[in-house]
């Protein structure tokens, strides 16, 4: 068999290469070909895409996040720590062989599609797998939300928010919009607004079908696509919204999976994936969605929307605080994703008013998600001495990551000191979430940070919320870090003092005797 592997370790000078060598040796001994990409400090030569394509399986012996992991999507994968590969490379190779023999896990035919790399261990917890299916659907849906949401918002900006001033553009009647576009006038901002709005609206129409289709795809591979998409479209038709889409995705996926596992005569087997499975599963999904669960789900959806829009004042602020705290709790982990998915799903509700609660929820979630990286960046600037060199470097990047709503920017800080960083993050993010609600900001785009500021309703309020949340989180983390001392930081500080003394001495010493360690590069111990 042919395998590709990625190795990495915290320091990047020893285990990365030892694991690579050990895997190559063990592979050769067992008669397999193993090609390794060492993601260490000597730089890494990326694997040739042709080699990856030819590989039967993938081995991750990495203690750091695998770079460009999506290159390996869809292949049977074993994920072990670097230490396991050094200590027991033959065992790891054996695991990889078993993984390949267990069969392909997801559709490699879809190319670089971010199919969640299914762990070999098919006994992975049900919760984990449900989350992976769900996140697959959501990850395919988000570009539609982004394109559609931003186009719609731009449509309002260009054509004017007060749509009643534009007789040709009526939100409820698609026909008039189409007419406005048919008589397209290149100099009329109303025409452009109508065009943007209509295009964005069309993109939005795909949200629920794409969500359902790709949930089913994650479960059942390609046979799931048809029942998923059709079920999602039916959910839209009967007004069951994203709840209906979720139901349709899971129904379609499991039906397709079940049918594709039927034992059928050899002659029929060829037409199963292209005809029989899509046909039967789609019919059953249609029956269930139209006749059985569509109406109750539609009622539930209406109830949820009514409840959200009925929230006001203190309740709305509390919702913002809760979602904010969730965003800050694990910085891109499952809890964060639940809050984020809730907000994005809200955007897909049809016919939302300009200041709908769903848009306010989205604004609160984005503001909260920006706080943690910004707060860490701020803290490294105002209290340098509490942070290691590496953290101060990370702090510089965290400004940009935070401003772009990438909560993960705070992970380097949380990973080394979770007990101090996460409480600060939760408090600050919750404050930002609550403030956005209190200040009535709205947001139509699912992502983008300050770069989508023009699309934010009451942008000043949004900024105030982000800034206050950031200051609060930074203050908390500084306060917590001031309790007790960090041995690494203390050691670095002494080293700095010594280096400074050396540099002063060097300045006065004769030229040509410069010590080789004049640079202030971070000691890469983390």
């Amino acid at each position: 068999m042919k395998f590709v592997a990625v190795t990495s370790c915290p320091t990047g000078i020893a285990h990365t290469y030892m694991a690579a060598e050990a895997l190559e040796q063990a592979g050769r001994a067992a008669g397999h070909e193993v090609v390794v990409e060492t993601q260490g400090s000597a730089g890494s030569d990326p694997l040739d895409p042709a080699v990856i394509a030819a590989a039967d399986g993938v081995i991750f012996a990495a203690d750091l996040e695998v770079k460009d992991r999506e290159r390996f999507a869809g292949k049977p994968t074993v994920d072990v720590g670097v230490k396991k590969a050094v200590h027991d490379a033959p065992g790891v190779i054996g695991q990889a062989v078993a993984a390949v023999e267990a069969g392909p896990v997801a559709a490699p035919a879809a190319g670089a599609a971010p199919v969640p790399a299914t762990k070999v261990d098919s006994g992975a917890g049900v919760g984990t797998r449900v989350r992976q299916w769900l996140m697959t659907g959501i990850s395919y849906m988000i570009p539609f939300v982004a394109a559609g949401g931003i186009l719609i918002a731009l449509g309002f900006m260009v054509g004017g928010y007060d749509v009643t001033d534009l007789p040709t553009v009526e939100l409820d009647g698609g026909v008039t919009l189409v007419e406005a576009i048919r008589n397209f006038d290149i100099t009329s901002s109303a025409s452009w607004g109508a065009l943007l709005f209509q295009t964005g609206g069309t993109a939005f129409g795909f949200l629920v079908p794409v969500l359902a289709g790709f949930i089913a795809y994650a479960i059942a591979d390609r046979p799931g696509l048809v029942p998923g998409f059709v079920g999602g479209a039916i959910a839209v038709t009967v007004g069951a919204g994203f709840l209906g889409g979720l139901a349709a995705g899971f129904l379609g996926g499991f039906l397709a999976l079940w049918i594709s596992r039927w034992k059928v005569p050899r002659g029929v087997r060829g037409v199963m994936p292209v005809v029989v499975t899509p046909l039967l599963s789609t019919f059953v999904v249609g029956l269930l969605m139209f006749v059985v669960i569509g109406q109750p789900l539609a009622a539930l959806m209406t109830g949820l929307t009514t409840w959200l829009n009925g929230l006001s004042g203190a309740n709305l602020v509390l919702l913002g605080v809760l979602l904010g705290a969730m965003m800050g709790f694990d910085l891109g982990g499952p809890v964060n994703k639940v809050a984020y998915s809730f907000a994005v799903a809200g955007l897909s509700t049809p016919n939302l008013a300009v200041d709908a609660t769903e848009y306010r929820v989205m604004a609160a979630v984005m503001a909260a998600g920006m706080v943690a990286p910004l707060a860490m960046a701020l803290a490294t600037v105002v209290r340098k001495r509490l942070f290691t060199h590496a953290e101060r470097e990370n702090g510089k990047a965290a400004w940009l990551l935070g401003a772009s709503f990438i909560s993960e920017g705070a992970i380097p800080f949380a990973a080394v000191d979770p007990l101090r960083v996460l409480p600060a993050s939760v408090v600050g993010s919750a404050a930002a979430g609550g403030l956005v609600m209190a200040l009535d900001s709205t947001l139509r785009a699912p992502h983008g940070g300050i770069w989508v500021l023009p699309l934010i309703g009451n942008p000043l309020g949004f900024l105030v919320a982000v800034v206050l949340g950031t200051v609060i989180a930074a203050a908390v983390v500084i306060a917590l870090k001031s309790i007790g001392t960090n041995s690494v930081v203390a050691a670095e500080r002494e080293a700095d003092a010594a280096a400074q003394a050396a540099e002063t001495a060097q300045a006065t010493a004769p030229a040509g005797q410069a010590p080789a360690t004049g640079t202030a590069r971070p000691a890469a111990t983390s």
């Binding site: 915290p10 000078i13 020893a14 290469y17 030892m18 080789a516 000691a523 890469a524």
Partner: protein, 151 residues
């Protein structure tokens, strides 16, 4: 390479140590004496920090303390033999052969490639056995210099 990865002065054939910290310290002192690190205590702290993340003991009686550190002037390997053994957290017992790898924080590509190639050699039992049975420090240094060539 102007400066060799290892010289006979960086080999200790008979280390006696009660724990891994003491053993590492003896090797770090060799580095300091050879002028390969500017601040022995500072470098030791970096190695300790790395060791605290994940023990570096390997099966086969090998301990592999290492760090990238701004106190290191040139990429260096120090080898120590510990006849009585010292625990490095390996699953199969104490380490009798120690490799201390010192990498500069701002190493260029060539330096780091040498260390990568060293790490790859360490996996081979034949390489480790030849170091265990080498009669003197000169031979140890010579074996390493001969075997470790940048790939």
């Amino acid at each position: 390479m102007s400066t060799p990865l290892i010289t006979p002065e960086l080999v200790a054939l008979d280390i006696e140590a009660s724990d891994r910290d003491a053993a590492t310290r003896q090797l770090v002192e060799l580095l300091a004496a050879a002028g390969r690190v500017t601040d022995a205590e500072g470098f030791l702290a970096d190695v300790r920090a790395r060791e605290a993340q994940m023990a570096t003991g390997m099966p086969g009686g090998v301990g592999l303390p290492h760090a990238r550190s701004e106190h290191v002037t040139v990429p260096t390997l120090a080898v120590g033999r510990v006849p009585a053994g010292v625990d490095f957290g390996a699953p199969d017992g104490p380490a009798t052969l120690l490799f201390l790898i010192a990498a500069p924080a701002s190493g260029d590509g060539d330096h780091l490639k040498i260390l990568a190639s060293l790490a790859r050699r360490l996996v081979h039992p034949s390489f480790r056995d030849s170091l265990r049975s080498a009669p003197d420090a000169e031979t140890v240094a010579e074996i390493v210099t001969r075997e470790v060539v940048p790939s």
